[in-house]
């Protein structure tokens, strides 16, 4: 227990400054994300939308890094602790790639081999609007 105390005592200097700095970074990153989100609303081009979404994901990862590294203090821990937490999380790279690829492939297969489902999903949703009105009348 005394060891942990000695370690924390070393980190006292500059701690407040670091917190203010990280808070500012997180705020700015969030504001950029929101600005991109607002900007994206008026954009029709699918490619540009995809690029903006990619940028937002990168900003999200940057925010996650700052929270984990500074707020959760992981950056100031010993290397053993950092590795035991971060290395298993690398599995996510494979999870995300494999599952999203699988989802995309599933959609393509359905659209190719299940024309009925494809037809259903391209029908405009006028019926939904009606049923909503009916529901609101019911509640009245």
């Amino acid at each position: 227990m005394e060891q942990t105390h000695a370690i924390h005592a070393e980190n006292h200097e500059g701690g407040k400054k670091e917190i203010i700095k990280v808070t500012l970074i997180l705020t700015v990153l969030t504001l950029i994300e929101l600005a991109l989100g607002f900007w994206m609303m008026g954009i029709e081009s699918q490619q540009l939308r995809l690029a903006i979404k990619g940028t937002i994901v990168i900003l999200m990862l940057a925010k996650a890094f700052y929270i984990v590294a500074y707020f959760m203090h992981l950056k100031h821990e010993v290397k053993n602790l950092i590795m035991t937490i971060v290395v298993p999380l690398i599995l996510f790279v494979w999870f995300i790639t494999a599952f999203l690829y699988d989802g995309n492939s599933f959609r393509n297969l359905k659209n190719t081999y299940d024309p009925y489902k494809k037809e259903l999903s391209t029908k405009k949703a006028e019926k939904k609007e009606e049923s909503k009105e009916v529901k609101s009348e019911e509640t009245k």
Binding site: M1, L89, K118
Partner: protein, 227 residues
């Protein structure tokens, strides 16, 4: 495996007698718990992504989340309310860092103030979420019911609402647990439990949990409201 690790670490961390991670046992276990929790949330969000990739159309979040409290029926302010929620959580995370730091310096009064601020932030976030759920419910959205049409005007599946309520609900439950943990910490601080122990390490563990809740919201916020 263990021999190679010993070789790469220059300090005597693996020579025995103390934790090679140089943290207290409880804190290490909190880290492992949070890692497992990250996999739980990751599984949820990846399932959401997979479903979204496997579905032809998806509702536009700017159409769904465009209202805010005390607004009329025709409110059209996408992203505004949720950004307020995001900032509430970031600020409460900052006050939690300050509480942890005050604990390391054995300043009981500062710990109490910052813990109270964190609890207020948590409760504010929960209230916002309660309002949003209530609002969406009255628009007809719930598990298995989706009143919102897809962005391209086609009929939507219930995937959107199912995932939204499950994941934000799971996150909200984490916030609730965090608030309860912080209240327990506050009571323990006020009754001088930590002063008698001589350290505030418990606050640091509660702090880790609270930051994790903030961390998860970063991902939920991005996945559901922004992209």
């Amino acid at each position: 495996m263990s021999t190679t690790t010993t070789a790469t670490v220059p300090t005597k961390l693996w020579s025995g007698g103390k934790s090679p991670f140089n943290v207290e046992y409880g804190k290490l276990m909190m880290w492992y718990f949070l890692m497992s929790d990250a996999f739980t949330f990751g599984a949820f969000l990846i399932a959401y992504g997979t479903t979204r990739f496997a579905t032809n159309g998806w509702p536009n979040p700017n159409e769904v989340f465009k209202s805010y409290p005390f607004a009329g029926e025709n409110a059209n302010a996408p992203l505004v309310f949720v950004s307020i929620m995001t900032f509430i959580l970031i600020v409460s995370s900052v006050t939690m860092v300050l509480a942890v730091q005050a604990g390391q310096q054995m300043k009981k009064k500062a710990v109490v103030t910052n813990l109270i601020l964190t609890i207020i932030g948590g409760l504010a976030f929960l209230s916002c979420q309660a309002w949003e759920w209530n609002h969406l419910f009255h628009e007809g959205a719930w598990w298995g019911r989706n009143p919102f049409i897809n962005a391209d005007g086609t009929a939507s599946t219930t995937g959107f609402t199912n995932f939204f309520f499950t994941i934000t609900g799971f996150h909200g439950f984490h916030v609730l647990s965090g608030v309860i943990i912080n209240i327990v910490m506050l009571i323990m601080t006020l009754t001088d439990k930590f002063e008698k122990r001589g350290h505030y390490l418990m606050i640091e563990k509660a702090g880790l949990y609270w930051h994790f809740v903030d961390l998860v919201w970063v991902f939920v916020f991005t996945c559901f409201y922004l992209i």
